[in-house]
């Protein structure tokens, strides 16, 4: 259907998209998981209530979450350049993607951990478990299906964001779609990128849901 250059470009674009999405998700969780844990335990119903820490983090998360991704992308360009050395291309896009993803992931982790039954936490406390043991063995262990559903949602969202970065030369499938579909009116190439994106989301969603079901011990 397309010549080899275009096919290669689409294949490279797919890899670039996956690269940006997965690396940003990973970094997003490196920041977002501890953030979510701290939010969940310092909340007034948590195991280590601390109004000051909770309010500060809560504010920061809300602030970051209220900046639209496209604007954040442009806003953090100097930072991106300082870290990566350039402000375009897929590696550079990982910086704003991580910044946008971390607070979002933090919120999802927080809400997953808050779903853990309070009685089970009390049971752990009553056997003398300390904060760290409760976080590690009870909160994360018992919330794992919900956390995995969260991962699936996060990865899907980050994939969508990565495509948005195409507007400013972010690399990947979004970049291709913008360049060919918007600037050159070669809509067939744009449609192919859309199809690839849809397939990617479906696959990631499928894997996530399968894992979360497999790890759920509450149902047969």
């Amino acid at each position: 259907m397309f010549d080899e250059t275009i096919r290669n470009m689409l294949i490279d674009g797919t890899w670039a998209t996956l690269y940006m999405t997965l690396v940003s998700s990973l970094f997003g969780y490196v920041v977002g998981l501890p953030l979510g844990i701290i939010l969940a335990i310092t909340d007034k119903e948590g195991i280590k209530p601390n109004a000051v820490i909770y309010k500060i983090l809560d504010f920061v998360v809300n602030l970051t979450r209220s900046i639209p991704f496209l604007i954040l992308l442009i806003m953090v360009m100097p930072l991106t350049k300082a870290i990566v050395g350039q402000s375009y291309g897929s590696t550079a896009t990982i910086v704003p993607l991580t910044i946008a993803a971390a607070p979002f992931i933090g919120r999802m982790v927080e809400s997953s951990l808050k779903e853990v039954d309070k009685g089970v936490i009390e049971a752990a406390q009553s056997m003398g478990a300390g904060t760290f043991t409760i976080i590690y063995k009870v909160l994360l262990g018992e919330a794992r299906t919900s956390l995995l559903v969260g991962v699936t949602i996060a990865v899907g969202t980050i994939l969508g964001y990565s495509a948005m970065s195409g507007v400013v030369g972010g690399g990947g499938l979004g970049d291709i779609a913008v360049r060919y579909g918007y600037y050159r009116y070669e809509t067939d190439i744009m449609f192919v990128t859309i199809i690839i994106l849809v397939v990617l989301v479906q696959i990631l969603q499928g894997i996530g849901m399968m894992l979360s079901k497999k790890l759920d011990r509450r149902r047969a």
Binding site: A123, Q125, M127, G128, G130, T133, R144, R217, R218
Partner: protein, 266 residues
């Protein structure tokens, strides 16, 4: 009469394991526990009874710090644990607790539920703990369920696992918070039998229950609580046959059913 004085003296000689001194607990505006004091001696089984919402479960939860008290003292092994910053995790290893709704970890097998405390909290050897857990599970007749998940067990089985989970930490005292209240009637027995056995073995226990026959059988002392206060405490023989207070008499009467005759009620 002389008998009971002897008994009281005998109890005083034995060491006090856990003592609550003038406990006050407020929930928002309301006072749930109002100056409650209680001594639990080593090897003693005390059963707390009283109407719903009287504060007996709250009292139990105050003893291991699941609820904060507003004033008063808790003394464990002669040490005041409520002064300054309490190291609850180490205190709680000495005070085992079993809950009304079992509170087993749903994502962990029966065995993993039982060994979590000794392995992760007490840092004991996993192999050794596993052996001990299997022995205890066998004792309550659940060894073949060790790899099952909580959802695959009946309520009575879950509660027996929860008891084993508390026992394996070798606590000095066990707290039972209405452990049969969520069970089907025919499963109550299997759980209470385990507790009766533990009593016979000399475990120190503080039990909250609505099962009066069980209370009568297991208790060394009955403590009747109403409105956040201890109204009466006595041996089960005395309490159930000749309650001293009118309030206790009325409470006990609610467990007696008689055919309506149209005549004067009790």
């Amino acid at each position: 009469m002389e008998d009971s004085i002897d008994e009281v003296n005998h109890m005083a000689e034995q060491s006090i394991l856990l003592e609550a001194k003038n406990i006050v607990k407020d929930y928002g505006q309301g006072r749930v526990l109002d100056d409650v004091s209680l001594q639990i001696h080593k090897g003693e089984v005390i059963v707390l009874i009283g109407p719903s919402g009287c504060g007996k479960s709250t009292f139990l939860r105050c003893m291991n710090g699941l609820e904060q008290i507003q004033s008063g003292q808790i003394v464990l092994d002669g040490e005041v644990i409520t002064e300054g910053k309490t190291d609850w995790p180490s205190v709680r290893q000495k005070i085992g607790m079993v809950f009304q709704n079992y509170e087993l970890f749903p994502h962990k097998t029966v065995l993993d539920n039982v060994i979590l405390g000794p392995v992760k909290v007490q840092g004991r050897d996993k192999k050794e703990v596993t052996k001990e857990a299997e022995k205890l599970l066998e004792r309550v007749g659940l060894l073949e369920k060790k790899d099952a998940f909580p959802r695959q067990l009946s309520g009575g089985q879950k509660q027996r696992v929860a008891i084993v989970r508390a026992l394996i930490l070798k606590p000095e005292i066990l707290l039972f918070d209405e452990v049969t209240a969520a069970l089907d009637p025919e499963m109550v027995r299997e759980v209470l039998d385990v507790i009766l056995e533990l009593a016979a073995e000399g475990y120190t226990m503080l039990i909250v229950t609505h099962e009066m026959q069980f209370a009568k059988a297991v208790a060394d002392k009955i403590v009747f609580i109403d409105g956040g206060k201890i109204v009466e405490s006595d041996t089960p023989e005395k309490f159930f046959t000749q309650p001293k207070t009118d309030r206790a008499r009325r409470f006990l009467n609610t467990f007696i059913y008689e055919k309506e005759t149209g005549g004067e009620k009790l």
